[in-house]
Symmetry: C2
Subunit: 277 residues, 2 copies
């Protein structure tokens, strides 16, 4: 269920009263960033990391989040009480604000809003069978920023669904970058390999790589398409999905097409993080 | 001056009542297209061409404009009466509509709105001295669609202004595509050359090329960066600027850095089109 209350530019409003100008440059020019976090036991999880990433995304667009971390934490706290989710995702959106001419906007009047939704994790069976991705030649325009531009992902949704795939895996023709909505990693000969350029910093991914480094070699660097197709294991990480095994790319099996031991180990390790163990 | 009245989803409303949901996928995911036309003597100019392009952009995103050409023409006519501009630009925006989860949207409930603004042509002196562009390695994500994604243009606005440049000229490292907000053409040895791939179809550009073809050879095809820097003349075309001479690229003069004879001829020819001669 969607937010019944929304935080918009300093006020918490009933959803039907929280409305945006059609002159907003986030609409007219797609000039906007966002971030998405989840709750664990009803409380925002990795809030500091998500706020850090949101501010970093904003800075890359010359924007500035107009509230302190504490103000945002308080707003999220109030929304979670009002909106009554079992567990929630919390979406924070920042745009350049209204623009009279569709070109200029005033940095002093950004649009900032927070929505909450009921958390919808993927089907539990996907963690048992593993999921499929399809590769797509595309790099996001400002990969280090979480902008609202998802043209390529949405335009290929029908194709993605038709292939029974979970997401697109972006690459530049030679090197893997990231999935449209997740970080992507491969395991080869016991080494966990993480693409390191043209990717968004993953809040979950960063922690999972730390967990992986306790028992395995972890290499941050170039990962080719060939590495990905030839890997023994692959998995993605994201806020809503944690560690999710990937067993097929473009219909080709990764390894033997089952969830491998390193992925299994990291799924379990991530569950322990969520349980606060 | 900005629209005092806005057409939104079938109704003409005072601007302060024409508001958009923060759940609109045009905001959450930048999933939107638009088109912009101008009036001549208070009447929409090239309306059929702009509507054709809008529908084509929409189709490339799997969207559909929810009104007929006649309904849109009527809405624009009413807005122009209510909003009282000397001459206007008319902006039509189409998004996928509201999305409860930021991923799915219902093709039956798009968001479509029309804004009008007072037409603001560039400074008249630019047509005498010519303008500057700076080159930027970038191709738009779906070049044939006029999407709302202007991340690269807006992110480089300060740099553009610091260089006293009018706009960015996009290229892929070897071939010229288009300016961020205009079509771009070069003239070499009397031949008018028009980049033909990775570009938006230009409503003004197409007509200007027809005018050019009356007296000159016109070649639609690959135009390299080298062609552009080595051209005798260059110009851009756009709805609000008509034919505008370009005399510098990245601070290097094109030809002798003055407005050349072919550009001058096309500027005059375009003026005659606007005057209905």
């Amino acid at each position: 269920m969607t937010s019944q209350h929304i935080f918009l530019n300093g006020a918490i409003l009933p959803a039907e009263q929280a409305l945006i100008s059609p002159l907003d440059i986030g609409l007219l020019r797609g000039y906007a960033v966002f971030d998405l976090l989840r709750t664990v036991n009803g409380r925002p999880f990795l809030l500091a990391e998500h706020l850090k990433r949101l501010r970093s995304s904003a800075e890359l667009l010359g924007l500035s989040v107009p509230y302190s971390d504490i103000q945002i934490a308080e707003a999220i706290g109030e929304l979670l009480v009002l909106n009554c989710h079992a567990e929630a995702t919390v979406r924070m959106v920042l745009t350049g604000g209204p623009s009279a001419d569709g070109m200029h906007f005033d940095p002093a009047t950004p649009t900032f809003y927070i929505l909450t939704h009921e958390l919808k994790p993927p089907a539990a069976s996907l963690y048992v069978t593993g999921a499929k991705l399809i590769t797509k030649r595309h790099l996001r325009e400002i990969p280090e920023a979480k902008t609202t531009n998802y043209l390529t992902m949405l335009r290929h949704r029908d194709e993605t669904l038709a292939e029974d795939a979970l997401d697109l895996l972006y690459h530049d023709g030679e090197y893997i970058a990231e999935a449209a909505t997740a970080s992507f990693y491969v395991v080869s000969n016991g080494v966990v390999k993480a693409p390191h350029s043209d990717v968004l910093w993953g809040t979950v991914g960063a922690l999972v790589l730390e967990l992986a480094a306790e028992n395995h070699e972890v290499v941050l660097g170039a990962v080719t398409l060939e590495d990905a197709f030839g890997a023994q294991e692959a998995f993605l990480t994201s806020t809503t999905r944690g560690v999710l095994p990937i067993v097929q790319l473009d219909g080709r099996l990764i390894g033997d097409g089952t969830v491998g031991p390193v992925t299994r180990e990291l799924m379990a390790a991530w569950e322990r993080v969520l349980l606060g163990e």
